[in-house]
Symmetry: C2
Subunit: 327 residues, 2 copies
Protein backbone atom coordinates (compact mmCIF):
# COMPACT_ATOMS: atom_id res chain seq x y z
CA UNK A 1 0.00 0.00 0.00
CA UNK A 2 1.23 3.47 -0.93
CA UNK A 3 0.47 6.35 1.42
CA UNK A 4 0.66 10.07 0.62
CA UNK A 5 0.53 12.63 3.44
CA UNK A 6 0.13 16.23 2.31
CA UNK A 7 0.90 18.59 5.18
CA UNK A 8 3.32 16.09 6.71
CA UNK A 9 5.45 18.71 8.48
CA UNK A 10 2.60 20.03 10.59
CA UNK A 11 2.08 18.83 14.13
CA UNK A 12 -0.57 16.26 13.25
CA UNK A 13 1.09 15.31 9.95
CA UNK A 14 4.35 14.48 11.75
CA UNK A 15 2.57 12.44 14.39
CA UNK A 16 0.54 10.58 11.76
CA UNK A 17 3.70 9.79 9.74
CA UNK A 18 5.55 8.63 12.87
CA UNK A 19 2.68 6.39 13.88
CA UNK A 20 2.30 4.86 10.40
CA UNK A 21 6.06 4.31 10.16
CA UNK A 22 6.01 2.56 13.54
CA UNK A 23 2.97 0.43 12.67
CA UNK A 24 4.20 -0.39 9.17
CA UNK A 25 0.59 -0.91 8.13
CA UNK A 26 -2.86 0.64 7.95
CA UNK A 27 -5.40 -1.85 9.20
CA UNK A 28 -4.53 -5.17 7.56
CA UNK A 29 -2.53 -3.62 4.70
CA UNK A 30 1.28 -3.32 4.97
CA UNK A 31 2.58 0.07 3.90
CA UNK A 32 5.04 -0.22 1.02
CA UNK A 33 5.95 3.45 0.61
CA UNK A 34 5.14 6.67 2.41
CA UNK A 35 5.37 9.96 0.55
CA UNK A 36 5.56 12.93 2.93
CA UNK A 37 4.91 16.34 1.43
CA UNK A 38 4.80 19.83 2.86
CA UNK A 39 5.87 23.39 2.05
CA UNK A 40 8.76 22.90 4.48
CA UNK A 41 10.82 19.74 4.66
CA UNK A 42 8.96 17.03 6.60
CA UNK A 43 11.07 15.06 9.09
CA UNK A 44 12.06 11.57 7.93
CA UNK A 45 10.78 8.79 10.12
CA UNK A 46 12.64 5.69 10.96
CA UNK A 47 10.59 2.61 10.38
CA UNK A 48 9.87 -0.15 7.96
CA UNK A 49 8.20 1.56 5.04
CA UNK A 50 10.33 3.32 2.45
CA UNK A 51 9.85 7.02 3.08
CA UNK A 52 10.22 9.74 0.50
CA UNK A 53 9.94 13.39 1.51
CA UNK A 54 9.23 16.32 -0.75
CA UNK A 55 8.88 20.07 -0.47
CA UNK A 56 5.98 21.24 -2.63
CA UNK A 57 3.15 23.78 -2.66
CA UNK A 58 -0.11 22.04 -3.53
CA UNK A 59 -1.59 25.23 -4.92
CA UNK A 60 1.12 25.67 -7.58
CA UNK A 61 0.37 24.50 -11.11
CA UNK A 62 1.00 20.81 -11.77
CA UNK A 63 2.03 19.92 -8.23
CA UNK A 64 -1.06 17.86 -7.41
CA UNK A 65 -0.58 15.87 -10.62
CA UNK A 66 2.98 14.98 -9.65
CA UNK A 67 2.03 14.06 -6.09
CA UNK A 68 -0.44 11.42 -7.29
CA UNK A 69 1.74 10.17 -10.16
CA UNK A 70 2.59 7.02 -8.16
CA UNK A 71 -1.16 6.48 -7.55
CA UNK A 72 -1.14 6.36 -3.73
CA UNK A 73 -3.87 4.14 -2.29
CA UNK A 74 -4.51 6.47 0.64
CA UNK A 75 -4.12 10.26 0.57
CA UNK A 76 -4.18 12.18 3.84
CA UNK A 77 -4.81 15.85 3.00
CA UNK A 78 -3.83 17.85 6.08
CA UNK A 79 -2.24 20.84 4.34
CA UNK A 80 -3.67 24.22 5.28
CA UNK A 81 -2.67 27.60 6.52
CA UNK A 82 -4.18 28.21 9.91
CA UNK A 83 -7.13 30.32 10.89
CA UNK A 84 -5.22 33.43 11.95
CA UNK A 85 -3.14 33.57 8.79
CA UNK A 86 -6.12 32.87 6.52
CA UNK A 87 -7.90 35.78 8.21
CA UNK A 88 -4.89 38.10 7.90
CA UNK A 89 -4.11 37.21 4.28
CA UNK A 90 -7.33 36.70 2.36
CA UNK A 91 -5.75 35.77 -0.96
CA UNK A 92 -3.23 33.36 0.50
CA UNK A 93 -5.93 31.60 2.53
CA UNK A 94 -8.09 31.01 -0.52
CA UNK A 95 -5.09 30.02 -2.63
CA UNK A 96 -3.76 27.41 -0.19
CA UNK A 97 -6.88 26.20 1.57
CA UNK A 98 -9.38 26.31 -1.28
CA UNK A 99 -7.45 26.26 -4.56
CA UNK A 100 -4.86 23.80 -3.22
CA UNK A 101 -7.57 21.40 -2.12
CA UNK A 102 -9.41 21.76 -5.41
CA UNK A 103 -6.19 21.18 -7.40
CA UNK A 104 -5.71 17.93 -5.52
CA UNK A 105 -9.30 16.80 -6.04
CA UNK A 106 -9.14 17.75 -9.73
CA UNK A 107 -5.86 15.88 -10.25
CA UNK A 108 -7.43 12.75 -8.75
CA UNK A 109 -10.54 13.21 -10.92
CA UNK A 110 -8.46 13.46 -14.09
CA UNK A 111 -6.47 10.38 -13.06
CA UNK A 112 -9.75 8.59 -12.37
CA UNK A 113 -10.99 9.42 -15.83
CA UNK A 114 -7.68 8.36 -17.39
CA UNK A 115 -7.17 5.02 -15.68
CA UNK A 116 -9.91 4.39 -13.10
CA UNK A 117 -7.73 5.51 -10.17
CA UNK A 118 -9.90 5.89 -7.05
CA UNK A 119 -7.97 6.36 -3.80
CA UNK A 120 -9.22 6.75 -0.27
CA UNK A 121 -8.91 10.47 0.51
CA UNK A 122 -8.97 11.61 4.14
CA UNK A 123 -9.47 15.36 4.55
CA UNK A 124 -8.71 17.27 7.74
CA UNK A 125 -11.59 19.66 8.34
CA UNK A 126 -12.34 21.60 11.50
CA UNK A 127 -15.08 22.64 13.87
CA UNK A 128 -14.34 26.13 12.48
CA UNK A 129 -16.92 25.27 9.78
CA UNK A 130 -19.50 26.13 12.46
CA UNK A 131 -20.29 29.63 13.68
CA UNK A 132 -22.19 31.05 16.64
CA UNK A 133 -24.92 31.21 17.83
CA UNK A 134 -24.99 27.53 18.78
CA UNK A 135 -27.22 25.23 20.76
CA UNK A 136 -25.49 23.93 23.92
CA UNK A 137 -24.79 20.60 22.19
CA UNK A 138 -24.48 20.90 18.42
CA UNK A 139 -26.20 18.09 16.48
CA UNK A 140 -24.75 16.43 13.36
CA UNK A 141 -27.47 18.10 11.30
CA UNK A 142 -26.42 21.66 12.29
CA UNK A 143 -25.78 24.08 9.43
CA UNK A 144 -22.36 25.36 8.37
CA UNK A 145 -22.14 29.08 8.97
CA UNK A 146 -18.41 29.72 9.45
CA UNK A 147 -17.35 33.09 10.84
CA UNK A 148 -13.80 32.99 9.48
CA UNK A 149 -12.32 32.64 6.01
CA UNK A 150 -10.51 29.51 7.23
CA UNK A 151 -13.80 27.94 8.29
CA UNK A 152 -15.33 28.94 4.95
CA UNK A 153 -12.47 27.30 3.04
CA UNK A 154 -12.78 24.10 5.08
CA UNK A 155 -16.55 24.03 4.56
CA UNK A 156 -16.07 24.40 0.80
CA UNK A 157 -13.49 21.59 0.90
CA UNK A 158 -16.11 19.43 2.62
CA UNK A 159 -18.73 20.17 -0.04
CA UNK A 160 -16.29 19.38 -2.85
CA UNK A 161 -15.18 16.19 -1.10
CA UNK A 162 -18.76 14.98 -0.81
CA UNK A 163 -19.54 15.75 -4.46
CA UNK A 164 -16.36 14.18 -5.84
CA UNK A 165 -17.01 11.10 -3.68
CA UNK A 166 -20.63 10.89 -4.82
CA UNK A 167 -19.38 11.03 -8.41
CA UNK A 168 -16.98 8.16 -7.68
CA UNK A 169 -13.77 10.09 -8.46
CA UNK A 170 -12.34 9.15 -5.08
CA UNK A 171 -13.56 7.63 -1.85
CA UNK A 172 -13.42 10.63 0.45
CA UNK A 173 -14.07 11.30 4.10
CA UNK A 174 -13.77 14.61 5.92
CA UNK A 175 -13.05 14.82 9.64
CA UNK A 176 -14.01 17.91 11.63
CA UNK A 177 -11.31 17.88 14.24
CA UNK A 178 -11.87 19.23 17.76
CA UNK A 179 -9.36 21.70 19.21
CA UNK A 180 -6.22 19.62 19.68
CA UNK A 181 -4.94 19.67 23.22
CA UNK A 182 -2.22 19.45 24.53
CA UNK A 183 -0.32 20.85 21.52
CA UNK A 184 3.39 20.11 22.03
CA UNK A 185 6.10 22.71 21.44
CA UNK A 186 6.22 26.42 22.13
CA UNK A 187 3.25 28.54 23.21
CA UNK A 188 1.66 30.08 20.12
CA UNK A 189 -0.29 33.25 19.66
CA UNK A 190 -3.45 31.63 18.35
CA UNK A 191 -6.49 32.76 20.34
CA UNK A 192 -6.99 29.10 21.28
CA UNK A 193 -3.37 28.67 22.43
CA UNK A 194 -4.13 29.08 26.12
CA UNK A 195 -6.12 25.82 26.27
CA UNK A 196 -2.82 23.97 25.72
CA UNK A 197 -0.48 26.55 27.27
CA UNK A 198 -2.07 26.35 30.73
CA UNK A 199 -1.27 22.64 30.86
CA UNK A 200 1.95 22.29 28.86
CA UNK A 201 3.86 25.20 30.36
CA UNK A 202 3.14 24.27 34.01
CA UNK A 203 3.99 20.61 33.24
CA UNK A 204 7.33 21.88 31.93
CA UNK A 205 7.91 24.07 34.97
CA UNK A 206 6.99 27.33 33.21
CA UNK A 207 4.38 29.98 33.88
CA UNK A 208 1.33 30.23 31.65
CA UNK A 209 -1.28 32.94 31.18
CA UNK A 210 -5.01 32.22 31.37
CA UNK A 211 -6.93 35.01 29.60
CA UNK A 212 -10.49 33.72 30.18
CA UNK A 213 -12.65 32.52 33.06
CA UNK A 214 -12.63 28.95 34.36
CA UNK A 215 -16.22 28.42 33.24
CA UNK A 216 -15.28 28.60 29.55
CA UNK A 217 -16.27 25.28 27.94
CA UNK A 218 -14.82 23.94 24.71
CA UNK A 219 -14.34 20.77 22.64
CA UNK A 220 -11.06 18.83 22.79
CA UNK A 221 -9.16 15.76 21.66
CA UNK A 222 -5.51 14.82 22.07
CA UNK A 223 -3.08 14.66 19.14
CA UNK A 224 -3.08 10.87 19.60
CA UNK A 225 -6.88 10.71 19.26
CA UNK A 226 -6.63 12.82 16.09
CA UNK A 227 -4.08 10.41 14.61
CA UNK A 228 -6.44 7.55 15.47
CA UNK A 229 -9.26 9.40 13.68
CA UNK A 230 -7.17 9.63 10.51
CA UNK A 231 -6.18 5.96 10.60
CA UNK A 232 -9.73 4.81 11.35
CA UNK A 233 -10.99 6.99 8.47
CA UNK A 234 -8.49 5.36 6.12
CA UNK A 235 -9.82 1.86 6.87
CA UNK A 236 -13.53 2.49 7.43
CA UNK A 237 -16.08 0.92 5.08
CA UNK A 238 -17.47 4.08 3.47
CA UNK A 239 -20.46 2.28 1.98
CA UNK A 240 -21.95 2.43 5.47
CA UNK A 241 -21.27 6.17 5.68
CA UNK A 242 -23.41 7.09 2.67
CA UNK A 243 -23.26 10.44 0.86
CA UNK A 244 -22.78 12.58 3.98
CA UNK A 245 -19.02 12.21 4.02
CA UNK A 246 -18.08 14.91 6.51
CA UNK A 247 -18.21 13.94 10.14
CA UNK A 248 -17.88 15.90 13.34
CA UNK A 249 -15.32 13.94 15.33
CA UNK A 250 -16.01 12.99 18.93
CA UNK A 251 -14.28 14.99 21.62
CA UNK A 252 -14.32 15.95 25.24
CA UNK A 253 -16.49 18.90 26.27
CA UNK A 254 -14.67 20.40 29.22
CA UNK A 255 -14.24 23.70 31.03
CA UNK A 256 -10.97 25.46 31.77
CA UNK A 257 -11.68 24.70 35.44
CA UNK A 258 -11.84 20.99 34.62
CA UNK A 259 -8.52 21.28 32.76
CA UNK A 260 -6.90 22.83 35.81
CA UNK A 261 -8.39 20.26 38.21
CA UNK A 262 -6.96 17.48 36.04
CA UNK A 263 -3.57 19.21 36.04
CA UNK A 264 -3.63 19.26 39.83
CA UNK A 265 -4.54 15.59 39.99
CA UNK A 266 -2.09 14.40 37.35
CA UNK A 267 0.90 16.67 38.02
CA UNK A 268 0.29 18.42 41.33
CA UNK A 269 -0.96 21.65 42.85
CA UNK A 270 2.39 23.38 42.28
CA UNK A 271 1.84 22.95 38.51
CA UNK A 272 -1.62 24.50 38.74
CA UNK A 273 0.00 27.32 40.75
CA UNK A 274 2.02 28.33 37.68
CA UNK A 275 -1.14 29.55 35.90
CA UNK A 276 -1.40 33.34 36.02
CA UNK A 277 -4.89 34.76 35.52
CA UNK A 278 -4.79 37.78 33.20
CA UNK A 279 -8.30 38.34 31.84
CA UNK A 280 -8.22 39.55 28.23
CA UNK A 281 -11.55 40.88 26.98
CA UNK A 282 -10.59 40.45 23.32
CA UNK A 283 -9.72 36.78 23.68
CA UNK A 284 -12.75 36.20 25.91
CA UNK A 285 -14.91 37.75 23.19
CA UNK A 286 -13.45 35.53 20.46
CA UNK A 287 -13.80 32.39 22.56
CA UNK A 288 -17.42 33.23 23.44
CA UNK A 289 -18.23 32.61 19.76
CA UNK A 290 -16.76 29.10 19.77
CA UNK A 291 -18.67 25.84 20.08
CA UNK A 292 -18.86 24.23 23.50
CA UNK A 293 -19.99 20.69 22.74
CA UNK A 294 -21.14 18.45 19.89
CA UNK A 295 -23.26 15.34 19.72
CA UNK A 296 -20.92 13.67 17.16
CA UNK A 297 -23.42 10.83 17.05
CA UNK A 298 -22.61 9.54 13.57
CA UNK A 299 -18.86 9.48 14.17
CA UNK A 300 -19.31 7.64 17.46
CA UNK A 301 -21.56 5.09 15.76
CA UNK A 302 -18.87 4.62 13.11
CA UNK A 303 -16.29 3.79 15.78
CA UNK A 304 -14.36 7.07 16.13
CA UNK A 305 -13.23 7.59 19.75
CA UNK A 306 -11.79 10.47 21.74
CA UNK A 307 -10.73 10.93 25.35
CA UNK A 308 -13.45 11.05 27.97
CA UNK A 309 -11.68 13.17 30.60
CA UNK A 310 -8.80 15.64 30.87
CA UNK A 311 -6.69 13.29 33.00
CA UNK A 312 -6.42 11.09 29.93
CA UNK A 313 -5.52 14.04 27.70
CA UNK A 314 -2.72 14.99 30.10
CA UNK A 315 -1.55 11.35 30.28
CA UNK A 316 -1.24 11.25 26.47
CA UNK A 317 0.98 14.34 26.59
CA UNK A 318 3.18 12.91 29.34
CA UNK A 319 3.58 9.64 27.43
CA UNK A 320 4.24 11.23 24.03
CA UNK A 321 6.27 14.29 24.95
CA UNK A 322 7.77 13.38 28.31
CA UNK A 323 6.97 15.67 31.15
CA UNK A 324 9.82 18.11 31.52
CA UNK A 325 11.14 19.09 34.92
CA UNK A 326 7.88 18.98 36.83
CA UNK A 327 7.09 15.27 36.49
Amino acid sequence: MKVLIIGAAGMLGRKLAERLAADGRIGASPIGTMHLVDVVSPPVNEGRPAVETEVADLSSQGTAEKLIAARPDVIFHLAAIVSGEAEADFEKGYRINLDGTRELFEAVRRAHEADGYRPRLVFASSIAVFGAPFPERIPDSFHLTPLTSYGTQKAIGELLLADYSRRGFFDGIGLRLPTICIRPGQPNKAASGFFSNILREPINGEEAVLPVGEDVRHWFASPRAAVEFFIHAATLDLETVGPRRNLTMPGLAATVGEEIAALERMVGPEAAGRIRREPDATIAGIVAGWPRAFEAQRACELGFEAETDFDEIIRVYLEEEGGGSAV
Copy 2:
Protein backbone atom coordinates in the same frame (compact mmCIF):
# COMPACT_ATOMS: atom_id res chain seq x y z
CA MET B 1 -29.28 53.78 -9.24
CA LYS B 2 -27.52 51.38 -11.57
CA VAL B 3 -28.73 47.79 -11.75
CA LEU B 4 -26.88 44.81 -13.19
CA ILE B 5 -28.74 41.55 -13.83
CA ILE B 6 -26.51 38.59 -14.70
CA GLY B 7 -28.58 35.75 -16.09
CA ALA B 8 -31.14 38.20 -17.51
CA ALA B 9 -32.33 35.91 -20.32
CA GLY B 10 -33.49 33.16 -17.98
CA MET B 11 -37.12 32.87 -16.98
CA LEU B 12 -36.69 34.67 -13.66
CA GLY B 13 -34.11 37.13 -15.01
CA ARG B 14 -36.51 38.23 -17.74
CA LYS B 15 -39.38 38.65 -15.30
CA LEU B 16 -37.19 40.58 -12.87
CA ALA B 17 -35.98 42.90 -15.64
CA GLU B 18 -39.54 43.46 -16.90
CA ARG B 19 -40.75 44.26 -13.43
CA LEU B 20 -37.91 46.68 -12.68
CA ALA B 21 -38.39 48.39 -16.04
CA ALA B 22 -42.10 48.78 -15.29
CA ASP B 23 -41.50 50.05 -11.73
CA GLY B 24 -38.61 52.33 -12.75
CA ARG B 25 -37.28 52.05 -9.21
CA ILE B 26 -36.14 49.68 -6.48
CA GLY B 27 -37.71 50.70 -3.19
CA ALA B 28 -37.33 54.48 -2.99
CA SER B 29 -34.45 54.68 -5.48
CA PRO B 30 -35.14 55.47 -9.14
CA ILE B 31 -33.28 53.20 -11.55
CA GLY B 32 -31.02 55.18 -13.87
CA THR B 33 -29.65 52.33 -15.95
CA MET B 34 -30.23 48.60 -16.21
CA HIS B 35 -27.52 46.37 -17.60
CA LEU B 36 -28.88 42.98 -18.68
CA VAL B 37 -26.34 40.25 -19.27
CA ASP B 38 -26.58 36.60 -20.27
CA VAL B 39 -24.89 34.04 -22.50
CA VAL B 40 -27.74 34.52 -24.96
CA SER B 41 -29.19 37.90 -25.85
CA PRO B 42 -31.57 39.12 -23.14
CA PRO B 43 -34.82 40.69 -24.37
CA VAL B 44 -34.93 44.48 -24.20
CA ASN B 45 -37.65 45.84 -21.97
CA GLU B 46 -39.68 48.88 -22.66
CA GLY B 47 -39.76 51.19 -19.70
CA ARG B 48 -38.26 54.26 -18.21
CA PRO B 49 -34.71 53.20 -17.31
CA ALA B 50 -32.04 53.14 -19.99
CA VAL B 51 -31.44 49.49 -20.76
CA GLU B 52 -28.22 48.04 -22.10
CA THR B 53 -28.02 44.37 -23.02
CA GLU B 54 -24.89 42.29 -23.40
CA VAL B 55 -23.96 38.73 -24.31
CA ALA B 56 -21.17 37.55 -22.04
CA ASP B 57 -19.95 34.44 -20.22
CA LEU B 58 -19.20 35.29 -16.60
CA SER B 59 -16.69 32.47 -16.30
CA SER B 60 -14.46 33.80 -19.09
CA GLN B 61 -11.40 35.78 -18.11
CA GLY B 62 -11.97 39.49 -17.52
CA THR B 63 -15.74 39.41 -18.08
CA ALA B 64 -16.69 40.04 -14.45
CA GLU B 65 -14.35 43.04 -14.34
CA LYS B 66 -16.03 44.60 -17.37
CA LEU B 67 -19.53 43.93 -16.05
CA ILE B 68 -18.87 45.92 -12.89
CA ALA B 69 -16.86 48.67 -14.62
CA ALA B 70 -19.82 51.06 -14.30
CA ARG B 71 -20.02 50.19 -10.57
CA PRO B 72 -23.65 49.02 -10.41
CA ASP B 73 -25.29 49.70 -7.04
CA VAL B 74 -27.24 46.45 -7.12
CA ILE B 75 -26.09 43.21 -8.74
CA PHE B 76 -28.56 40.38 -9.23
CA HIS B 77 -26.58 37.21 -9.88
CA LEU B 78 -29.00 34.68 -11.37
CA ALA B 79 -26.67 33.08 -13.92
CA ALA B 80 -26.32 29.32 -13.67
CA ILE B 81 -26.60 26.20 -15.71
CA VAL B 82 -29.39 24.04 -14.39
CA SER B 83 -29.24 20.94 -12.28
CA GLY B 84 -29.55 18.38 -15.05
CA GLU B 85 -26.85 19.96 -17.20
CA ALA B 86 -24.48 20.43 -14.24
CA GLU B 87 -24.94 16.74 -13.47
CA ALA B 88 -24.37 15.68 -17.07
CA ASP B 89 -21.35 17.94 -17.65
CA PHE B 90 -19.23 18.06 -14.50
CA GLU B 91 -16.60 20.49 -15.80
CA LYS B 92 -19.10 22.91 -17.32
CA GLY B 93 -21.14 22.96 -14.11
CA TYR B 94 -18.15 23.88 -11.99
CA ARG B 95 -16.90 26.38 -14.56
CA ILE B 96 -20.17 28.28 -14.87
CA ASN B 97 -21.78 27.83 -11.45
CA LEU B 98 -18.69 27.92 -9.22
CA ASP B 99 -15.91 29.65 -11.14
CA GLY B 100 -18.28 32.17 -12.72
CA THR B 101 -19.66 33.12 -9.31
CA ARG B 102 -16.18 33.35 -7.82
CA GLU B 103 -14.96 35.51 -10.72
CA LEU B 104 -17.78 37.93 -10.02
CA PHE B 105 -17.13 38.02 -6.28
CA GLU B 106 -13.38 38.46 -6.87
CA ALA B 107 -13.93 41.28 -9.36
CA VAL B 108 -16.06 43.10 -6.77
CA ARG B 109 -13.43 42.47 -4.08
CA ARG B 110 -10.68 43.94 -6.24
CA ALA B 111 -12.87 46.94 -7.05
CA HIS B 112 -13.61 47.32 -3.33
CA GLU B 113 -9.92 47.37 -2.57
CA ALA B 114 -9.24 49.82 -5.38
CA ASP B 115 -11.96 52.39 -4.70
CA GLY B 116 -14.15 51.23 -1.81
CA TYR B 117 -16.91 49.94 -4.13
CA ARG B 118 -19.41 47.89 -2.11
CA PRO B 119 -22.61 46.97 -3.97
CA ARG B 120 -25.63 45.06 -2.80
CA LEU B 121 -25.28 41.58 -4.31
CA VAL B 122 -28.34 39.34 -4.51
CA PHE B 123 -27.51 35.70 -5.27
CA ALA B 124 -30.03 33.14 -6.53
CA SER B 125 -29.45 29.95 -4.59
CA SER B 126 -31.74 26.94 -4.42
CA ILE B 127 -33.25 24.37 -2.10
CA ALA B 128 -30.99 21.94 -4.01
CA VAL B 129 -28.34 22.84 -1.40
CA PHE B 130 -30.23 20.40 0.84
CA GLY B 131 -30.17 16.61 0.46
CA ALA B 132 -32.28 13.78 1.89
CA PRO B 133 -32.95 12.42 4.44
CA PHE B 134 -34.96 15.35 5.77
CA PRO B 135 -37.22 16.07 8.70
CA GLU B 136 -40.83 16.69 7.61
CA ARG B 137 -40.32 20.45 8.01
CA ILE B 138 -36.72 21.54 7.48
CA PRO B 139 -35.52 24.17 9.97
CA ASP B 140 -33.29 27.14 9.06
CA SER B 141 -30.44 25.50 10.99
CA PHE B 142 -30.44 22.33 8.84
CA HIS B 143 -27.09 21.34 7.33
CA LEU B 144 -26.20 21.59 3.66
CA THR B 145 -25.67 18.14 2.21
CA PRO B 146 -26.47 18.53 -1.48
CA LEU B 147 -26.90 15.40 -3.57
CA THR B 148 -26.16 17.02 -6.92
CA SER B 149 -23.21 18.95 -8.32
CA TYR B 150 -25.57 21.88 -8.95
CA GLY B 151 -26.58 21.91 -5.28
CA THR B 152 -22.90 21.69 -4.29
CA GLN B 153 -22.02 24.66 -6.50
CA LYS B 154 -24.87 26.73 -5.08
CA ALA B 155 -23.85 25.81 -1.50
CA ILE B 156 -20.27 26.89 -2.22
CA GLY B 157 -21.58 30.14 -3.70
CA GLU B 158 -23.50 30.70 -0.45
CA LEU B 159 -20.39 30.14 1.67
CA LEU B 160 -18.33 32.53 -0.46
CA LEU B 161 -21.11 35.11 -0.38
CA ALA B 162 -21.24 35.00 3.42
CA ASP B 163 -17.46 35.30 3.77
CA TYR B 164 -17.10 38.13 1.24
CA SER B 165 -19.97 39.95 2.96
CA ARG B 166 -18.44 39.41 6.41
CA ARG B 167 -15.20 40.88 5.06
CA GLY B 168 -17.13 43.92 3.78
CA PHE B 169 -16.26 43.43 0.08
CA PHE B 170 -19.92 43.58 -0.83
CA ASP B 171 -23.26 43.48 0.92
CA GLY B 172 -24.51 40.07 -0.10
CA ILE B 173 -27.66 38.07 0.40
CA GLY B 174 -28.41 34.59 -0.91
CA LEU B 175 -31.96 33.39 -1.55
CA ARG B 176 -32.75 29.68 -1.61
CA LEU B 177 -35.62 29.64 -4.05
CA PRO B 178 -38.41 27.08 -3.86
CA THR B 179 -39.37 25.16 -6.98
CA ILE B 180 -40.92 27.80 -9.24
CA CYS B 181 -44.43 26.97 -10.33
CA ILE B 182 -46.12 27.54 -12.79
CA ARG B 183 -43.12 27.88 -15.14
CA PRO B 184 -44.36 29.49 -18.37
CA GLY B 185 -43.38 28.18 -21.79
CA GLN B 186 -42.93 24.69 -23.13
CA PRO B 187 -42.89 21.52 -21.00
CA ASN B 188 -39.29 20.72 -20.12
CA LYS B 189 -37.58 17.44 -19.38
CA ALA B 190 -36.39 18.37 -15.88
CA ALA B 191 -37.48 15.78 -13.31
CA SER B 192 -39.41 18.57 -11.58
CA GLY B 193 -41.13 19.66 -14.81
CA PHE B 194 -44.38 17.82 -14.12
CA PHE B 195 -45.24 20.09 -11.16
CA SER B 196 -45.76 22.91 -13.67
CA ASN B 197 -46.76 20.80 -16.68
CA ILE B 198 -49.86 19.34 -14.99
CA LEU B 199 -51.22 22.86 -14.49
CA ARG B 200 -49.92 24.81 -17.49
CA GLU B 201 -50.72 22.28 -20.22
CA PRO B 202 -54.33 21.66 -19.09
CA ILE B 203 -54.86 25.44 -18.70
CA ASN B 204 -53.73 25.75 -22.33
CA GLY B 205 -56.00 22.93 -23.46
CA GLU B 206 -53.22 20.36 -23.76
CA GLU B 207 -52.65 16.99 -22.16
CA ALA B 208 -50.02 16.59 -19.44
CA VAL B 209 -48.37 13.54 -17.91
CA LEU B 210 -48.23 12.99 -14.14
CA PRO B 211 -45.44 10.51 -13.35
CA VAL B 212 -45.86 10.38 -9.53
CA GLY B 213 -48.62 9.83 -7.00
CA GLU B 214 -50.96 12.57 -5.78
CA ASP B 215 -49.53 12.34 -2.26
CA VAL B 216 -46.12 13.72 -3.33
CA ARG B 217 -45.51 16.92 -1.36
CA HIS B 218 -43.09 19.65 -2.41
CA TRP B 219 -42.19 23.33 -1.87
CA PHE B 220 -43.37 25.99 -4.31
CA ALA B 221 -43.53 29.66 -5.10
CA SER B 222 -44.73 31.49 -8.20
CA PRO B 223 -42.38 33.36 -10.56
CA ARG B 224 -43.98 36.57 -9.28
CA ALA B 225 -43.14 35.68 -5.66
CA ALA B 226 -39.54 34.94 -6.71
CA VAL B 227 -39.26 38.38 -8.36
CA GLU B 228 -40.62 39.92 -5.15
CA PHE B 229 -37.96 38.01 -3.17
CA PHE B 230 -35.21 39.52 -5.33
CA ILE B 231 -36.55 43.05 -5.03
CA HIS B 232 -37.09 42.75 -1.29
CA ALA B 233 -33.54 41.37 -0.92
CA ALA B 234 -32.18 44.39 -2.81
CA THR B 235 -33.75 46.84 -0.37
CA LEU B 236 -33.57 44.97 2.95
CA ASP B 237 -31.47 46.38 5.79
CA LEU B 238 -28.80 43.68 5.97
CA GLU B 239 -27.50 44.87 9.34
CA THR B 240 -30.51 43.11 10.83
CA VAL B 241 -29.69 39.91 8.94
CA GLY B 242 -26.27 39.44 10.55
CA PRO B 243 -23.56 37.12 9.22
CA ARG B 244 -25.91 34.32 8.14
CA ARG B 245 -26.62 35.78 4.74
CA ASN B 246 -28.26 32.83 3.04
CA LEU B 247 -31.96 32.44 3.62
CA THR B 248 -34.42 29.71 2.77
CA MET B 249 -37.26 31.56 1.08
CA PRO B 250 -40.85 30.99 2.17
CA GLY B 251 -42.98 28.81 -0.03
CA LEU B 252 -46.11 26.74 -0.19
CA ALA B 253 -45.87 23.11 0.91
CA ALA B 254 -48.44 21.33 -1.20
CA THR B 255 -49.19 17.91 -2.64
CA VAL B 256 -49.81 17.08 -6.27
CA GLY B 257 -53.38 16.31 -5.21
CA GLU B 258 -53.74 19.84 -3.85
CA GLU B 259 -52.38 21.23 -7.14
CA ILE B 260 -55.02 19.29 -9.08
CA ALA B 261 -57.83 20.32 -6.73
CA ALA B 262 -56.85 23.98 -7.22
CA LEU B 263 -56.81 23.46 -11.00
CA GLU B 264 -60.37 22.11 -10.81
CA ARG B 265 -61.52 25.07 -8.70
CA MET B 266 -59.74 27.75 -10.74
CA VAL B 267 -60.13 26.41 -14.29
CA GLY B 268 -62.61 23.56 -14.15
CA PRO B 269 -62.90 19.78 -14.02
CA GLU B 270 -62.29 19.45 -17.78
CA ALA B 271 -58.82 20.92 -17.26
CA ALA B 272 -58.04 18.41 -14.50
CA GLY B 273 -59.28 15.71 -16.88
CA ARG B 274 -56.39 16.46 -19.24
CA ILE B 275 -53.88 15.02 -16.74
CA ARG B 276 -52.79 11.52 -17.75
CA ARG B 277 -51.39 9.34 -14.95
CA GLU B 278 -48.29 7.46 -16.15
CA PRO B 279 -46.32 6.39 -13.07
CA ASP B 280 -42.57 6.55 -13.68
CA ALA B 281 -40.50 4.78 -11.02
CA THR B 282 -37.32 6.69 -11.92
CA ILE B 283 -38.92 10.10 -11.51
CA ALA B 284 -40.75 8.95 -8.38
CA GLY B 285 -37.40 7.84 -6.95
CA ILE B 286 -35.72 11.17 -7.69
CA VAL B 287 -38.61 13.15 -6.26
CA ALA B 288 -38.67 11.01 -3.09
CA GLY B 289 -35.28 12.55 -2.24
CA TRP B 290 -36.59 16.11 -2.47
CA PRO B 291 -37.60 18.34 0.42
CA ARG B 292 -41.28 18.55 1.27
CA ALA B 293 -41.48 21.64 3.50
CA PHE B 294 -39.33 24.25 5.21
CA GLU B 295 -39.83 26.43 8.25
CA ALA B 296 -38.24 29.49 6.51
CA GLN B 297 -38.67 31.31 9.81
CA ARG B 298 -35.90 33.87 9.35
CA ALA B 299 -37.01 34.85 5.86
CA CYS B 300 -40.61 35.26 7.02
CA GLU B 301 -39.47 37.43 9.93
CA LEU B 302 -37.49 39.54 7.45
CA GLY B 303 -40.64 40.17 5.41
CA PHE B 304 -40.26 37.73 2.50
CA GLU B 305 -43.65 36.39 1.39
CA ALA B 306 -44.86 33.57 -0.86
CA GLU B 307 -48.25 32.26 -1.89
CA THR B 308 -50.30 30.46 0.73
CA ASP B 309 -52.39 28.21 -1.55
CA PHE B 310 -52.30 26.81 -5.08
CA ASP B 311 -55.32 28.82 -6.19
CA GLU B 312 -53.14 31.89 -5.81
CA ILE B 313 -50.26 30.29 -7.74
CA ILE B 314 -52.64 29.49 -10.61
CA ARG B 315 -54.09 33.02 -10.47
CA VAL B 316 -50.59 34.48 -10.87
CA TYR B 317 -50.08 32.36 -14.00
CA LEU B 318 -53.41 33.39 -15.48
CA GLU B 319 -52.66 37.06 -14.83
CA GLU B 320 -49.08 36.99 -16.13
CA GLU B 321 -49.32 34.56 -19.02
CA GLY B 322 -52.97 34.70 -20.01
CA GLY B 323 -54.87 31.46 -19.92
CA GLY B 324 -54.84 29.98 -23.40
CA SER B 325 -57.91 28.40 -24.90
CA ALA B 326 -59.26 26.83 -21.72
CA VAL B 327 -59.96 30.01 -19.81
